[in-house]
Amino acid sequence: MLGNRNVAHDAFCLVIIGFGLFVIYGGIELSVGSMRRIGPGFFPLGLGGLMVLLGIGLLFERQEDRGEDTRNLRGLFCVSLALAAFAVLLEPIGLFPATMAMVLLVVAAEPDHITPLTVAGIIAGLWAVGYFLFVAVLRLPLEPISSDIWPVF
């Protein structure tokens, strides 16, 4: 039974069990209360315990081979970076530069070729949508370009 085990799967089960234990620990820290008057830690404690049990159960579940196995780490990395760049740049520098950085990073994640003109078109289109829909109509407190770096007179 232990002959051909899937190491990645087992490791993942251990992560799940570890997560359950962490939730249990958090629940105990929060005070479990009594059955008559349950404390803020009671429900988490139960769920953490359930998670541990399910994680142990998963260790014994036979895994099917999944055919589609194209890992896309480059995509994951670039798209994550795109969201992070947008979040970091949005307030200090402004909506337009944040959008530009985001689009460039998402485009970098694509395996296909994409012409610079198309990229410029996407950015310009999103600037228009961002400004008219989100700033003008929905009144998000955002500046196209931050007045700290581009003072408005």
């Binding site: 929060l30 988490p44 998670m51 399910l54 579940e61 798209v79 969201l83």
Partner: protein, 509 residues
């Protein structure tokens, strides 16, 4: 007669200019994103949700629901014309719709699709009108003990009926329930799992979880997909004359449509089995009752009519548990329920009696929306086909942009963009390990309600947990839930008991 006066109230609510406009808008957006392969109604509703905060709650829900059922119409257009299902629930339609289109009867296939969808929805809306208030009335007699049991049963059923590994789905549900705990405890004021982030006081944003796990993760997965090139659209005769079916066709199709509707209405009301399962079941039923099953897959009109009636009926029927019990059967319903809560509407059995104008207005608007879709769809098909052919590399940055600003706009805070990012990465990693993100959202929405009902039950029972087994309704529901959990477990247990013999046993599904 009460029903008639209620429907009149519904018409009053749904026939205001504002409601009609947003119903129309929701249907248009839904058709559009439904037709686009890759962006589902799920992501669209999460993006649109913060944009509706300024609207009246009824109008907001009318629009968000319009996106959901509009997407069913749009999805079948790409299935029929391009053999490329826009949404999973319309994948079956491609089996016979695409061969029909190839044989030059694209217009006819689209016409059947539109009419069968409309019939399925309309009948199913009547089913909702009949059943939802009745179920709510029964549920009003529930106290917190039964309510807790219903939620347990709903969550377990959603995990075990839908297919895939039930164990993995259960893990995802529990993960969702745990995510729902994060934030300040309403009873004690204690901060739970916030790690010192003040932004998490109100909990993790539903929109961030949904957009991260479905939107971001899905785009990363799509990027690695095989072909990114725009599919070639078929040159098809889409004139009105080509669409109209003959009398013979009509007499052939009304029964499959009705059967599809019946299957869809039943399946749709169950938790866990949404429009996709309904469409597959309806198709299988047609194949079974057909005199000549070999025609299926080669352009049998029934193969379009039945699954289309079924998936649209299922979409409407899914509102039965959502509106009568406050328990969502699938992810999109979970998001809509989240939208109700964010708009300050309390879901649950009291909803229909507390907010009659909203309930009946919503149902009437569904019907109006389907009518709009019936007439909107046919003339717009040519235009939609052009849009479907937009390649992913242009679409992806646009979707990420909406996800970024959508998460930001919930609280005007970039913190939520980072939360979306974390859930995107997590969603992708989980998906690669064969975990589906849908149950996470169900657990996330129901978590706080479950805890509250558990707490109340224990207070009422003076701390005696056996109260859940002493009350008959709750005992039956918990028993059913336990049965659903144990049934799929029997195989691995037998395997473990048998030890080594099992090595060449049949693979688990």
């Amino acid at each position: 007669m009460e029903l008639l006066s209620n429907i009149a109230l519904g018409f009053e609510t749904a026939f205001t200019a504002e409601a009609l406009f947003y119903c129309f808008l929701g249907c248009c957006i839904g058709t559009f994103v439904g037709a686009l392969p890759g962006i589902g109604p799920m992501v669209t509703i999460s993006v649109a949700l913060p944009l509706t905060f300024g609207l009246d709650p009824t109008v907001a829900l009318i629009m968000l629901a319009g996106i959901f059922y509009g997407a069913q119409y749009g999805g079948s257009i790409s299935s029929i014309l391009l053999n490329l299902p826009g949404t999973a629930s319309t994948a079956v339609t491609a089996l016979d719709g695409y061969p029909l289109a190839q044989s030059g009867r694209a217009g006819f296939a689209l016409f059947i699709n539109a009419v069968a969808s409309f019939c399925g929805s309309s009948i199913s809306i009547l089913v909702v009108m009949a059943f939802a208030p009745a179920i709510a009335e029964i549920a009003l007699r529930f106290n917190s003990t039964e309510y807790f049991a219903v939620m347990v049963l709903g969550l377990v059923a959603a995990c075990t009926i839908g297919g895939g590994s039930p164990l993995k789905s259960l893990i995802m549900v529990v993960f969702g329930l745990i995510l729902g705990i994060v934030g300040m405890d309403i009873n004690s004021g204690a901060m739970r799992y916030t790690f010192g982030f003040l932004e998490l006081t109100d909990g993790i944003s539903l929109i961030s979880v949904a957009m991260g796990m479905f939107g971001v993760a899905e785009i990363v997965r799509k990027m690695a997909g095989p072909s990114q090139d725009a599919p070639k659209s078929m040159v098809a005769d889409l004139s009105l004359a080509s669409m109209l079916p003959s009398r013979k066709d009509l007499s052939l199709l009304w029964l499959p449509t009705l059967r599809g509707t019946a299957v869809g209405s039943m399946i749709g009301a169950l938790p866990g089995a949404g429009p996709t399962v309904a469409a597959f079941m309806a198709y299988a039923t047609e194949k079974k009752v057909a005199r000549d099953p070999a025609r299926f897959g080669r352009g049998a009109p029934e193969g379009v009519a039945a699954p289309e009636a079924a998936n649209n009926a299922a979409v409407q029927a899914a509102f039965i548990p959502t509106l009568s019990l406050g328990i969502p059967g699938d992810v999109v319903m979970a998001i809509l329920l989240g939208a109700m809560i964010m708009h300050g509407v309390v879901p649950g059995p009291q909803f229909i009696s507390n907010e009659p104008a909203m309930f009946w207005g919503l149902l009437v608007s569904f019907w109006l929306g389907n009518l709009i879709l019936l007439f909107l769809n046919l003339p717009l098909i040519g235009f939609l086909v052009k849009i479907i052919t937009v390649p992913g590399r242009i679409l992806h940055p646009v979707v990420i942009f909406f996800i970024c600003l959508g998460s930001y706009s919930v609280a005007n805070n970039v913190f939520d963009v980072f939360v979306t990012l974390i859930f995107g990465v997590l969603g992708y990693l989980l998906m690669r390990r064969g975990f589906h993100p849908a149950p996470v959202l169900l657990g996330f929405i129901l978590g706080p309600m479950m805890e509250e009902n558990l707490r109340r039950s224990l207070v009422i029972a003076r701390g005696d947990p056996s109260v859940f087994l002493e009350r008959p309704a709750s005992a039956v529901m918990l028993g059913l839930a336990l049965l659903l959990v144990l049934l799929p477990l029997r195989k691995p247990v037998v395997r473990i008991l048998r030890g080594r013999q099992s090595q060449d046993g049949p693979p688990l599904s």
